[in-house]
């Protein structure tokens, strides 16, 4: 009943793939023991379930709420950006991707909800080296979907925590640090803003090693040592250990944050790639909790248990 790929992404402790479903049914049937009536019922309900989806698939019985008809509007500029005591634009605040300052699922397709409008500020495709282009080209659309780190609940890393993140973030600017709190998986990063250089040989990390300095009213974050398991988009843009990410963040007005990133990767790209200016807008609500969860850990733990104790009967 379940295909291989969907088995990989189950999350629950209850049966979640073909093998586990079989075990689950076995346990269930054991509980009902020799009760013939219930056993027949189990068969019956499975029979009904298998047929009902086909019986009910179809189109149109009720009107549909207004996807794509949302009236969301971009926030107004909101006046000048506040400044910190030492004169820098204060980047602090809760920020939502796009221009509406909040989340609204009905606004999907509305350019105001996007970080940028590709019709207005198109982005260059990643300038892959031929071997890298070939590697990415081999990915089917489905491959790209089920192999992308984010679907597997991996951290999106840098710059993913900005450019592939649909959830709000909170930025906190202190005298010495830029702090980014991500609602997505309760992730965070803390970047010194005193202009210090990178350490000599930083260990790889999902968020890499970031250091920052100010260039006028723009905070520039320079990041290296990014864990190679992250992707820079949802379509297979992998990177090497030589990736170098430079993010530029400014707050042109009270309600808007502008983010632009340049990615260098001499092992994968032919030249640096620079994103379109991305827009985030000021929200007026606290971050909540969002966790991606994944049963792969469960599978790994089960394998370890089986290794030491033998498969559970």
């Amino acid at each position: 009943m379940a295909s291989t790929e969907v088995c990989l992404f189950g999350r629950r402790s209850r049966p979640f793939c073909a093998q586990d479903n079989a075990e689950g049914e076995t346990r269930m049937k054991r509980r009902v023991g020799t009760h013939a009536v219930t056993a027949i019922s189990i068969f019956g309900i499975l029979y009904l379930l298998s047929g009902s989806a086909r019986a009910q698939s179809g189109t149109g019985q009720v009107s549909v709420a207004g996807f794509g008809k949302s009236t969301v509007q971009p926030l107004p500029p909101g006046g000048s950006a506040p400044r910190t005591a030492d004169g820098h634009p204060d980047l602090s605040g809760v920020w939502f991707p796009g221009k509406i300052g909040r989340e609204d699922l009905t606004a999907e397709g509305n350019p105001a909800r996007l970080q940028f409008d590709p019709k207005v500020t198109p982005e260059e495709k990643p300038p892959y080296q031929p071997w890298a282009a070939e590697k990415v080209k081999k990915l089917s659309t489905l491959d790209a979907e089920i192999l992308r780190p984010s679907v597997n609940c991996m951290p999106r890393g840098v710059p993913g925590m900005f450019i592939t993140n649909p959830y709000p973030i909170e930025l906190i600017l202190t005298k010495t640090e830029f702090i980014q709190l991500d609602e997505l998986n309760n992730n965070f990063r803390v970047i010194p803003t005193d202009g210090r250089p990178h350490s000599k040989d930083p260990d790889p990390a999902f968020n890499g090693e970031g250091v920052a300095h100010w260039e006028g009213d723009t905070l520039v974050i320079d990041t290296i040592a990014i864990d190679e398991r992250t992707w820079n988009n949802f379509a297979g843009w992998f990177h090497s250990d030589q990736e170098h990410v430079v993010e530029r963040i400014s707050r042109p007005t009270m309600n808007y944050l502008t983010y632009q990133v340049t990615i260098e990767d001499p092992k994968v790209l032919t030249k640096p790639w620079t994103s379109a200016p991305r827009t985030w807008s000021l929200g007026h609500e606290a971050l909540q909790e969002y966790y991606c969860t994944n049963n792969r850990e469960e599978e790994a733990l089960k394998a370890l248990r089986d290794l030491t104790e033998g498969p559970k009967k």
Binding site: A2, G44, I45, D104, L105, T141
Partner: protein, 146 residues
């Protein structure tokens, strides 16, 4: 078999639906295209029986009669609770309607089981509220992931 089941269902109804909910493969964070068929849309009208308002995705269950009159349990997956809530649909929209009749618009699973990626749910008060992103014909662009 149908005749036998008609006699059994009233007695073992709750057990059957508990079993149904457990043997159905239900998934949370996953590739949409891997599991659902975005080229189809279904509308299921039935009794809302249960809600799981939890990360990473909200789930709810609806008991509905198929075209032959048989009652089946549908498992629906929505977006993350916080994304749904920010769109204006709150947990009590579900919990206050348990046991009542609703209509769900959803994208069916590819495996033919009674599950769907829900877009909206029409509540007894007539409101059709959003419970997931737009999935029908689309969602193949990057960025549409929660």
């Amino acid at each position: 078999m149908t005749h036998v089941l008609k006699g059994i269902i009233p007695v073992t109804l709750s057990l059957l639906f508990a079993i149904a909910a457990n043997v159905l493969p239900i998934f949370a964070h996953h590739g949409f295209q891997a599991e659902y068929d975005g080229s189809k849309v279904i509308y299921i009208t039935g009794t809302l029986t249960k809600l799981e308002w939890e990360n990473p995705h909200a789930y709810f269950w609806v008991e509905a009669k198929d075209t032959t009159g048989r009652v089946t349990t549908w498992t629906f997956e929505g977006a993350s609770p916080i994304a749904v809530k920010r769109t204006g649909t709150v947990r009590t929209d579900f919990t206050s309607n348990i046991g009542k009749t609703v209509t769900v618009r959803a994208i069916p699973g590819k495996d033919g089981t009674t599950k769907g990626a829900a877009e909206t749910i029409k509540l007894p008060d007539g409101r059709e509220v959003v419970v997931g992103g737009k999935r029908f014909f689309g969602d193949r662009r990057s960025g549409g992931e929660y």
